[in-house]
């Protein structure tokens, strides 16, 4: 009897326990919100990330576009790598990384800013919208310039369009101009929120964003001038030059000093890790800057005998005067040590580790060390915070010089070139002074400018174009994208050719890549994507050559 009672009691307790558990089930299971990651953030945080990503994806580390583009225009390159002879692959880290950053982060976050900033009708954050539109336009212009045809009309729509088509660059560019204009209009509207220090590039100065937007248009019109009459648009932009980027208005991303989190220039971080020098300086670039031609035809160097005062700001020799290199040497010129482009798998000395002996990029391009001539292994012993330049005052002046020479404008090409060279030197001095390095004295600058200008004066039109583009190429060091664009558009500067030099350890087996290969993995998951291109023939629409 007792036992039966107990059993009943036991059963009913257990059954009610089950029922209680079951009825509480719905609440019990409603725990699927991530407590650590938000579903909503302020747009200011997105803007900061967009600017960091823009500088990185276009920057000079191996993961930024300036890395490979600088290699293509013979400024710097890596040992043991097939890109030495123009062999670029859609699986290369250098190709995938900027593509990934731009599409999966930069443009997505831009889209989020625009959508968040306009979701409260009548209370929109127009300034954020405008800035975002301008950066979106700039990013797409770079994507077109590098890859020719890219997803645009169907890009960044998430799972709505899982396989975006690749639009022809020719159809994209006009929409970018519209986008920039919309951006300018939106910046001029009344805005609920306005950027401040979250705008790392311009610190919320909207007038600078408008100057950048207009200068970007100038650059882009110049870019397409061979395939389209752009004189009306260009002359309209030049009607008020105060509305363009002037001295001190450069569109550049300032880096910081912090090691953790790593806020330094990524290329500096890469090159100045102790003894881990990675990019070699192309001896061809070095010899043009030092007025030599030890291994290439004389016509390669338009500045034979002219030494550029910027050399110690551009390159840093780790070797002390006369110091022996760690391994057999491929190219040594004083304490400048490098290897030849086009010598991969041919010159045994190309493959040796010289990371503690090789010359590496210096202060001006990546925030490295000013070369005081005493050598010393790289060891985080540079500035580290030199900004990543993207669109500068000097590049605007070179563009104007080119336009004047081409007859698109009636401005004085010679004067503009001299101003452009002066502005490039000023930029070097600005970087030097920020890093506490000595400045280039004006008399040296004047000497240099006058020797260039006298060569310019005596040159024919092709020669003049060569001087403008070569000077722009020199000035661009640290930002390779424009130089790569300019070379494909104008054919200048003349580049080193492993097959026509006087070296038997250099062979160029491939032709110049007129655009980059698409990221292979994206082609494979996108049925609407084209087949991988032949990079020696698939050119960008503005490339009339």
């Amino acid at each position: 009897m007792m036992k039966k009672m107990k059993i009943k009691y036991f059963i009913s307790v257990l059954l009610s326990l089950v029922l209680v558990l079951f009825s509480g089930c719905e609440d019990f299971l409603d725990i699927n919100d991530d407590p650590n990651n938000p579903t909503d953030v302020p747009i200011s945080q997105l803007l900061s990330t967009v600017e960091v990503d823009m500088a990185g994806s276009m920057g000079a580390s191996v993961g930024g576009l300036s890395g490979y583009t600088s290699a293509m225009v013979h400024q710097m390159f890596q040992r043991g790598n097939t890109h030495q002879f123009y062999d670029l692959q859609g699986t290369d880290f250098e190709v995938q990384t900027p593509w990934n950053i731009m599409y999966s982060r930069l443009l997505t976050d831009v889209r989020q800013i625009i959508s968040l900033a306009t979701e409260d009708e009548g209370n929109e954050d127009w300034h954020y919208v405008g800035i975002s539109q301008i950066m979106k336009a700039y990013t797409f212009s770079v994507l077109v310039d590098i890859w020719a045809d890219v997803p645009f009309s169907e890009a960044n729509l998430g799972s709505e369009v899982r396989m975006p088509v690749y639009d022809n660059g020719e159809n994209i560019y006009p929409q970018l101009f519209t986008l920039i204009d919309e951006g300018i209009t939106n910046i001029q509207k009344t805005s609920n929120l306005s950027p401040g220090t979250d705008d790392i590039i311009y610190q919320g100065d909207l007038s600078l964003w408008i100057k950048f937007a207009r200068t970007l248009k100038l650059k882009m019109y110049n870019q397409i001038r061979l395939v389209q009459d752009v004189s009306t648009e260009i002359n309209a932009l030049l009607a008020d030059e105060s509305q363009l980027i002037g001295s001190g208005d450069d569109f550049e991303f300032p880096y910081g000093a912090s090691l953790a989190p790593m806020n330094r220039n990524p290329a500096y971080q890469q090159e100045y890790t102790p003894g881990a020098g990675y990019y070699y300086i192309n001896p061809y670039f070095y010899e043009i800057l030092t007025g030599q031609n030890t291994f290439f035809p004389v016509e390669g160097n338009p500045y034979l005998g002219i030494t550029d005062p910027r050399v110690p700001y551009y390159f840093y020799n780790q070797l002390a005067p006369g110091q022996a290199a760690e391994n057999p040497v491929a190219y040594r010129n004083g304490d400048f040590l490098s290897i030849y482009m086009f010598s991969y798998n041919i010159d045994p000395n190309e493959g040796f580790d010289q990371s503690s002996s090789q010359t590496i990029a210096g202060l001006y391009p990546i925030g490295g060390r000013y070369d005081d001539g005493n050598g010393g292994i790289s060891n985080f012993n540079g500035a580290g915070d030199t900004p990543q330049r993207m669109l500068t005052y000097f590049s605007r002046l070179y563009t104007q010089a080119e336009l004047a020479l081409a007859g698109v404008t009636s401005q004085n090409d010679s004067l503009l070139l001299a101003q452009a060279i002066q502005a490039s030197f000023d930029k070097v001095n600005e970087v030097a002074s920020a890093a506490g390095a000595p400045s280039i004295v004006q008399t040296d600058i004047d000497t240099y400018i006058s020797s260039i200008m006298s060569l310019y004066a005596s040159a024919d039109n092709a020669g003049k174009l060569q001087h403008i583009m070569t000077q722009k190429w020199i000035a661009s060091f640290g930002f390779g994208i424009d130089a790569y664009n300019d070379y494909r558009r104008t054919g200048y500067p003349v580049l080193h050719d492993g097959n026509t030099d006087n070296l038997d350890i250099t062979v160029r087996t491939r032709d110049f890549p007129v655009s980059f290969p698409w990221k292979t993995a994206d082609l494979q998951v996108n049925k609407n994507a084209p087949a991988q291109k032949n990079i020696t023939t698939f050119n960008v629409f503005w490339d009339a050559n």
Binding site: F22, D34, A155, I200, N265, Y278, N534
Partner: protein, 1105 residues
């Protein structure tokens, strides 16, 4: 009630309980003791039971009067005494591992019995889903059981590795030879596209987490991470049951689709019996060495083209005496010109070979393992306690693994009819490993294995200092930008993990009647894993500044289950029905923090760094509520039908899709019993079939997109600044970025369907038996990320998609080729596993998906990113994809006429399939009067491995493989145009055969076959034959032990991994392919530079008293 055996159930004839209380609850159950007083008075039958093989008496044998609930158990001396009711006619004797015997009582008062081992294992009782014990013969699906003693004999600290080669249908792969490193186990192939493919582990009824908690990928940075199943002490294992099919697992639900490994520990299995007190000591001492090194060449030193240089590759000048023309007899000291090493400036060293420079990097590892198990009990109560400690010093200096385990458990039958049990276990595991990732640009060459296996042949690593006296940084034969000196790396970079883990469970049962039972069980598995990854300053890694990263992971899983069991005979029919409820909660909390730039050289602590930043972390919690039912109908002990069903509600799915039901049906028939066949030709024949479905949920928080705070593009090297960002002049900005994983708000549960057929047959007087299983498993609607083109703005979309089929056969073969009456016996147990995996479909329009782990590697690491693991419709799981060289339409390699080397195809291709074709394991056991000799041989056929280690051995020219090198070679192929990738034609339109010679050096360095070459040339068929284990054991005869305190004593000598042969790897590399860079992840078949496998000898002593 602790799930007693069917026949033990009937013995519950409780009369008296004596209980002695002690300080705590745990100690209370430790000293429970009981005996039986009989009250009936009809007839008393007594007797002694002995074992057939060694004549020893058998305690704990169940003796039941047939057709009644009256029974008893033999005492320590194998004696029993039973009151038989007047109508009792037959006594049934049963004992685990022995054949059940029925003896007619007739007019006897003494019934002695010699019991024979049950070779067929049919009487075996196995633990199945939800801890339900079932006779193996009644099961409609395949279950394998391994006795704990088999594991203890092997003296392998990793319980999973001890199972290698012993279970058909199971593939077990160790990740490396580092102590405490992870082991991967898959059952019947991989069905999950990108999620977990390892089985669910259940220890004493409570799920046991087997995560591999690692912060770094194991590639760029990284080490030989462990997996948490390593916390399981083999010494404490009573038995392991592997439920291979989905049918067996239906009741475990969600995570059981990949099979279940059910572990019962000694402390968790204390079962009431008349055993008395028993103390078992098990001790082993083992030594281990690196399993194999390549045969090195000692003719050429570093350099190129037969000239010396301070390079990595040994392609330089020959040593004096090695070649007649050799002239280089000394070289500039490697440290010439280095700051802080001024003593060496201008000095030179002899140029000669150091044949043992690699061998001397390693030492002899020592493993000491001690364990003590105390168990005791009476009919109504039992307790068991295990204390153990293992210390393993690896063959790589400074590597170590320790594990300390204290477990206690017990069970008692209370006078009021309740049955109470419980167990608790505490484990502390500690691991110290060296850095073993592969080098990447700029900040990770700190791996101790970056160069270790292919040292320059003239590198006097041991004769030179390895530490800079000024900076204390690494000094190596190659420059700072290359790699750390392994000797420096051992001491000054590494990975430390310390885990404290507690598992506990209690259960309560009540027998309402002898056919109705209630039981409730609740348990927890919780651990805290604290990891530290450190690189001291002066390494090539961590920018040379020093870096310490802490990672703290907490895990807690709570599981509660309530079962109502009905079990009743209706004439010839037996109906067994179970209804149950199951509630599960899992919580994981992890946080990492990194300090950079050391202050003092050798203090690996955050406080010793100049900058500390958060380094990622996560929190997740998920819950499942399930109800289930299981009905099993048996007829006359030879036909069985089973039906199960379960409904789960999961917190991780969208509300409208969170409930899902899944059923299973199983059936089996023992034809020999059904048809009353008793023949030497056919001793036993059983057929079984099963159909089942398993539903699965997913990880928490995956149904809506989130922003990531201060998230930066995390490749190596970093292309962008990290966040938060502070410009030199300006204020700090935090950043946020939308996660690049697009989410599907309408996720639904995953589904796995499986059918299984089996035949179990014994023939030739039970000397030959085969257990054969065929299965086909289809998994669909999987929740996994689909790779998106990043132009969508996202790199992946997490959604339901795909269909994967695994079809396979398993054989277990028992052969007794030879047996004598004098006691000599030769047994062979063979396993054969063949699984064919097929990806039937992926998402709409998706032709390929990259497996996540390798995807990160492929895109995030400059050097390592070339080979990835992909899924393609119509293909097998996880194919290797990488770069290949260009071929023309006829398959001729295209050769670049400018250099005689190949031309890289711009499109990567499939270069290998890591899935083995089949796995064979053969265990031969010879036993004779207490001596047992056993040998496990296994053979894994097929399965490709991309090996960067072999690539480097060849490319660095260090082995005898390319010692003969003073010749030119021509790569067979035709000339091609590197711009157009078309073959070049001669004047008559014919292809031109390559005639450009290349040096041997170039064959292994360039667009050729090793370094800088296309990935395809470093993929090898990983077929391997292996003598996995040889053990000789001797049980001291009982007669010898009579005057000692020991009841049993045995001594054994075990050799592990004594020999292997991988025929498809380059000669002289002696490479053991059984290692994997990605540990226990889904990415298999890729190896960059892992710790090679080991060879081990162990002496093991086991004493019982």
């Amino acid at each position: 009630m602790l799930y007693p055996y069917d026949y033990v159930n009937s013995i519950i004839n409780l009369k008296f309980l004596y209980m002695k209380n002690k300080v705590s609850i745990l100690l209370t159950i430790l000293f429970l003791w009981g005996w039986q007083i009989t009250l009936s008075q009809e007839r008393i039958i007594t007797g002694t039971i002995t074992a057939d093989d060694d004549g020893s008496t058998l305690p704990g044998v169940s003796v039941v009067v047939k057709g009644t609930t009256t029974g008893t158990i033999t005492n320590l001396d194998g004696q029993y005494s039973i009151n038989v009711p007047v109508d009792g006619e037959i006594l049934v004797f049963s004992f685990v591992g022995m054949k059940t015997v029925e003896l007619p009582i007739e007019s006897n008062t003494i019934l002695d019995l010699v019991m024979e081992p049950d070779v067929l294992g049919l009487e075996e009782v196995v633990v199945t889903a939800a801890g339900i014990r079932r006779e193996k013969k009644a099961l409609g699906y395949s279950v394998e059981s391994v006795d704990g003693s088999q594991l203890q004999q092997v003296a392998e600290p990793d319980a999973l590795r001890a199972l290698q080669g012993k279970i058909p249908g199971v593939n077990i792969t160790s990740s490396s030879g580092a102590p405490g490193s992870s082991t991967r186990i898959t059952i019947r192939g991989s069905s999950s596209l990108l999620g977990n493919n390892q089985p669910l582990f259940v220890v004493n009824g409570i799920p046991f987490d087997n995560s591999s908690n690692s912060l770094f990928s194991g590639l760029g940075d990284g080490s030989a991470y462990g997996s948490r199943i390593g916390d399981l002490d083999p010494n404490n294992i009573e038995s392991i049951n592997v439920l291979k099919g989905a049918a067996a697992a239906a009741l475990y639900g969600s995570r059981a689709a990949n099979g279940v490994v059910i572990v019962t520990t000694k402390s968790g299995s204390a079962t009431a019996s008349a055993k008395g007190m028993e103390i078992t000591y098990n001790g082993s001492f083992g030594i281990e060495k690196i399993a194999n090194l390549p045969e090195y060449q000692n003719t050429y030193g570093t350099g190129t083209n037969f000239n010396y240089a301070q390079a990595n590759g040994s392609w330089g000048a020959p040593f004096i005496g090695a070649r007649p023309y050799a002239t280089t007899d000394s070289i500039a000291h490697w440290f010439d010109g280095r700051t802080g090493m001024e003593d060496y400036w201008g000095t030179s060293v002899p140029y000669r070979a150091y044949p043992d420079n690699v061998k001397n990097l390693f030492k002899t590892g020592v493993i000491v393992d001690n364990s003590l198990t105390i168990s005791g009990g009476g009919e109504n109560s039992a307790v068991s306690m295990t204390v153990s400690h293992v210390n393993s010093d690896g063959y790589v200096p400074t590597t170590n693994y320790t594990r300390t385990n204290v477990s206690v458990g017990g069970q008692t039958q209370l006078a009021n009819g309740f049955n109470v049990g419980g167990s608790v276990s505490y484990v502390r595991s500690g691991q110290k490993a060296v850095q073993s990732g592969v080098g990447a640009l700029g900040n990770t060459n700190q791996s101790a294995f970056a160069r270790a296996l292919y040292l320059g042949r003239n590198w006097d690593v041991h004769g030179q200092v390895y530490q800079n006296p000024v900076t204390l940084g690494s000094e190596f034969m190659v420059g700072r930008g290359q790699a750390d000196n392994p000797l420096w790396s051992y001491e000054n970079a590494g990975f430390i993990s310390n885990t404290d883990r507690v598992t506990a469970n209690v259960d309560l049962g009540y027998d309402v009647t002898d056919w109705l039972n209630f039981s409730y069980k609740i348990g927890v598995d919780s651990y805290n894993d604290r990891q530290k990854d450190f690189i001291r300053p002066g390494s090539t890694g961590a920018q040379g500044l020093g870096r310490v990263t802490l990672y703290d992971v907490s895990w807690e899983e709570i599981e509660s289950s309530f079962l109502i069991t009905f079990n009743k005979y209706f004439g010839d029919w037996n109906l067994r029905a179970i209804a149950g409820n199951n509630v599960n909660q899992r919580t994981r909390d992890a946080q990492a923090i990194q300090g950079s730039s050391y202050v003092v050289f050798d203090i690996d602590d955050l406080d010793n760094t100049n900058a500390v930043v958060p380094f990622g972390g996560s929190y997740s919690q998920s819950r499942i509520f399930g109800i289930f039912g299981d009905i099993s109908l048996g007829y006359k002990g030879w036909a069985y039908l089973g039906l199960t069903g379960r409904n789960d509600w999961s917190s991780t799915l969208p509300k409208e899709n969170r409930s899902y039901f899944y059923p299973a049906v199983t059936g089996s028939i023992i034809l020999t019993d059904a048809l009353n066949i008793e023949s030497d030709l056919l001793n036993f024949l059983k057929l079984r079939a099963a159909w089942s479905q398993v539903g699965n949920d997913t990880d928490p928080y995956l149904i809506r997109p989130v922003y990531l705070i201060n998230n930066f593009y995390g490749t190596t090297p970093r292309p962008t600044a990290e966040l938060p960002f502070t410009p030199t002049s300006g204020s700090t900005s935090a950043g946020a970025s939308l996660s690049n994983q697009e989410r599907d708000p309408n996720l639904k549960p995953e589904r796995t369907d499986e059918i299984e057929f089996g035949v179990y047959v014994f023939t030739l007087n039970s000397k030959f038996g085969i257990n054969f299983t065929y299965y086909k498993r289809t998994a669909k609607d999987q929740i996994a990320p689909v790779s998106l083109p990043v132009s969508t703005g996202f790199s992946q979309l997490l959604t339901n998609f795909g269909k994967v089929e695994n079809e396979g056969v398993e054989f277990g073969v028992h052969i007794t080729p030879f047996e004598t009456s004098s006691g000599f016996r030769w047994n062979i147990f063979g396993t054969f596993t063949h699984n064919k995996n097929l990806i039937l479909e992926l998402a709409d329009g998706v032709d390929e998906i990259t497996i996540l782990g390798s995807n990160v590697a492929a895109q995030s690491n400059y050097f390592a990113g070339q080979v990835s693991s992909v899924l393609r419709p119509g293909q097998e799981y996880g194919l290797l994809k990488g770069s290949v060289d260009m071929r023309d339409q006829d398959g001729n390699l295209l050769i670049d006429p400018s250099n005689g080397q190949m031309i890289r195809d711009p499109n990567p291709a499939i270069i290998g399939n890591p899935n083995p074709d089949f796995i064979v394991g053969v265990t031969n056991t010879f036993s004779f009067k207490g001596i047992r000799l056993s040998a496990v041989f296994d053979w894994k056929e097929g399965g490709d491995l991309y090996s960067n280690t072999v690539l480097s051995m060849l490319g660095r020219g260090v082995t005898k493989f390319n010692e003969e090198r003073e010749m030119m070679k021509i790569i067979p192929g035709v000339y091609g145009d590197p711009n157009t990738y078309e073959p070049l034609m001669d004047g008559e339109g014919n292809k031109i055969q390559n005639t450009t010679m290349v040096e041997t050096n170039t064959l292994f360095f360039g667009e050729t076959f090793a370094i800088n070459a296309a990935n395809e040339w470093s993929v090898f068929d990983a077929t391997v034959y292996r003598l996995r284990e040889v053990a000789i054991a001797y049980d001291l005869p009982t007669s010898l032990l009579e005057k000692t305190p020991f009841g049993r004593a045995s001594i054994s000598l075990i050799g592990r991994n004594l020999w292997f042969y991988a025929p498809h790897f380059p000669k002289h590399t002696n490479y053991d392919p059984e290692i994997n860079q990605y540990g226990n992840s889904n990415v298999q078949g890729i190896e960059y530079s892992t710790t090679p496998s080991t060879r081990r000898f162990t002496l093991n002593i086991s004493l019982t008293f």
